[in-house]
């Protein structure tokens, strides 16, 4: 049996291919972010009397570094389509915090280790349920999230019943409280953060390949260590971020900067850098607002800032943004209408055996309505058609343009 193939499919010539990806995109975004920071500092300082003293700077820096780390590591979680995993892991941390508090009292280091262990257990639990039963991963994550979080809340209630004032600090793990960041914890955050960034840079290509194509990756490298490394990085970032964002909203700090950054980037390195910048901005500003007015928990403020960045990115990013898309569609419609009107004039003229036959305007407006009228105006402006009363005629260059177009698309 003879196989039929289309006779020819033209290979499109590609005018963009040599253009560097997203020219200056990173620098532009960095510039915009810096200006946004300046503006934010100015406004809060001038109109809301926020004092940028030493304590506030420590808090702001702490929030910014944690936001940066969340953005960087969150990019991988988002691209692996494991956004919800971050949510499950952060909620799963709460019982660990409570148990650590019951054992050793209010020592931040111990609480964070407890959080990490519980979060890690949550991850193992999800993996075990998914691989040994027919329960799908999203359901397994939902169950784990709810169960661990419920246990954590119950334990917190018990703690509150038993002890007095000292337990108040635990509430910060639910909604986040950046004001608790002191210089020594900032130094720890910076140290661990540097290690995380260094590891990400060192294993960049392994992380990238595992994220993009885990099946192919498994044929050319040992993927289990990389998989374990990435999970560890995610857990560590979540646990550190809990202090400022809280277990309920931590997922937002992990996901939102990455989602926003994806809108503006064409390559993974651009996305990760931008997500870091966006995360730092949201973390820093959220921490400042919260610390300046001590009544407000930090988590919601950070997530509001991050969500604003996401909203702007979804609307206005070039190539992927909604506004861009609408504008492109409109531009295509307009040029489509111009071409069609030109060809209608040409066809009308041909059918009268005269290249320059006059066509009544209703012929065009009847076919194309408003866009047709605008297209006629454009053709007149560009010397491709002339008007006499309510009748239209192609000019020499209009005739040429129509013939050229019809030839190209034969």
């Amino acid at each position: 049996m003879q196989r039929e193939l289309p006779s020819s499919v033209p290979l499109m010539t590609d005018s963009n291919s040599r253009r560097p990806a997203l020219p200056g995109g990173i620098w532009r975004s960095l510039g915009i972010t810096l200006m946004a920071i300046l503006l934010f500092v100015l406004i809060t300082n001038q109109f809301f009397n926020v004092r940028y003293d030493y304590t506030l700077l420590v808090v702001a820096l702490g929030g910014a570094v944690l936001g940066l780390l969340s953005g960087v590591i969150g990019s991988f979680a988002v691209l692996r389509q494991q956004s919800l995993m971050g949510d499950a892991l952060s909620h799963a941390a709460l019982p660990g915090v409570a148990i650590a508090f019951m054992l050793v009292g209010r020592q931040m280091g111990a609480l964070l280790i407890g959080a990490a262990i519980a979060s890690w257990l949550g991850a193992q639990f999800i993996r075990a349920v998914t691989s040994t039963t027919r329960i799908k991963q999203d359901a397994a994550m939902g169950i784990t999230l709810a169960a661990f979080f419920a246990i954590g809340l119950a334990l917190l209630t018990i703690i509150q019943g038993q002890q007095n004032a000292s337990q108040a600090g635990l509430a910060q793990f639910i909604f986040g409280q950046a004001a608790s960041i002191r210089l020594d914890s900032l130094l720890t955050i910076a140290l661990v953060g540097s290690a995380i960034l260094l590891i990400t840079a060192l294993f960049w290509k392994e992380l990238k390949l595992l994220t993009f194509d885990p099946v192919f990756a498994a044929t050319i490298m040992r993927t289990q260590p990389v998989e374990a490394l990435l999970s560890t990085l995610i857990v560590v970032v979540i646990v550190m971020g809990l202090q400022v964002a809280g277990v309920i909203l931590m997922v937002g700090l992990l996901i939102a900067p990455a989602v926003a950054a994806r809108q503006w980037s064409r390559r993974l390195d651009q996305m990760v850098v931008l997500a870091g910048i966006f995360g730092a901005f949201a973390g820093g500003t959220g921490a400042i607002i919260s610390a300046a007015d001590s009544g407000l928990p930090t988590g919601p403020l950070i997530i509001i800032m991050a969500s604003i960045i996401v909203g702007v990115s979804i609307l206005f990013a070039p190539e992927r943004g909604v506004v861009w898309e609408l504008w492109k569609q409109r531009r295509e419609r307009v040029s489509f209408a111009r071409r069609n009107v030109l060809i209608s004039l040409y066809r009308h003229a041909q059918s009268h055996g005269d290249n320059y036959a006059w066509a009544p305007q209703e012929l065009i407006t009847g076919l194309y309505d408003g866009p047709g009228k605008r297209a006629l105006g454009w053709l007149e402006q560009h010397n491709q058609a002339v008007k006499s009363g309510t009748r239209w005629q192609l000019t020499g260059s209009g005739l040429q343009a129509a013939e050229q177009f019809l030839n190209e698309h034969r």
Partner: protein, 249 residues
């Protein structure tokens, strides 16, 4: 002439793969000589992709052994190239065609090391081989389906492997891509490489391939197309009703 080449490129003995105690590939023996273009054909659910994945250790084997060039896979990993199904990845991932191609070299580069000038040149050469040199800096999400398939093949070409597995490279591609892949297969054969392709189109088996494996959970037949690709074998693979529907007589 092919005296210096090792006697067998892929040697599978007694392979069984099961999913939830349901056999997907049952007690299969397969011997692929080097330098052949082999199609694996069979109905949906016959275990074609699973066979490839089990050979590459991507799905666990319930029983059996697999050897490439007389050695277990772990010892010859870099001599075996793989083109997964196009739909197995998210093409909206932020990366360029060139970068995707470079991923084929990550195995040879080893841990931590970054691709350099030499790797870039090799990747560009592979893109020329599949006709995508002008698209090197495009985002992969902007490619057509056929171009995506060709970029996947370019990624495998830079591996410079002795044996290639390709999982349905002809699925839903345009004519240009189909012709480009056929040319590449011929080129690989002329270089004495072995290529094993999961294939769906029975009409083109004899045109594109010199060897064929007919599979339906169990091995039906395997060998040169002239010997193995017989009406009786096809009927045993697909069942006679399906065969009529396919218009093969």
């Amino acid at each position: 002439m092919p005296d210096q080449t090792p006697p067998i490129a892929l040697d599978i003995e007694d392979l069984t793969v099961a999913y939830r105690s349901q056999p997907v590939v049952w007690d299969l023996d397969l011997h692929v000589p080097p330098g052949v273009l082999m199609a694996i054909v069979g109905p949906n659910g016959a275990g074609k992709s699973t066979l490839i994945k089990a050979a590459l250790g991507l799905v666990p084997r319930a029983a059996g052994s697999v050897h490439f060039f007389g050695k277990p896979y772990d010892e010859v990993r870099l001599r075996v190239g793989y083109v997964p199904q196009r739909g197995s990845v998210d093409w909206d991932f932020p990366t360029t065609v060139l970068d995707l191609t470079l991923m084929g070299l990550y195995g040879k580069l080893g841990w931590i090391r970054r691709p350099g000038r030499a790797e870039f040149d090799r990747a560009m050469h592979a893109l020329e081989q599949v006709g995508l040199q002008d698209f090197a800096h495009r985002q992969i999400g902007q490619l057509s389906g056929g171009q995506q398939q060709r970029s996947f093949i370019a990624r495998a070409l830079v591996q410079d492997a002795d044996l290639y597995f390709m999982d349905e490279p002809f699925a839903a591609v345009d004519a240009v891509t189909e012709a480009a892949i056929v040319n590449l297969l011929q080129e690989l054969r002329s270089l004495q490489r072995t290529v094993i392709v999961v294939h769906h189109d029975l009409d083109t088996v004899t045109d594109y391939f010199d060897h064929v494996t007919l599979l339906n959970v169990e091995l039906i037949a395997s060998g040169p197309t002239t010997e193995a690709f017989t009406e009786a074998n096809i009927r045993r693979t697909y069942g006679s009703r399906t065969l009529k529907a396919l218009g093969v007589s």
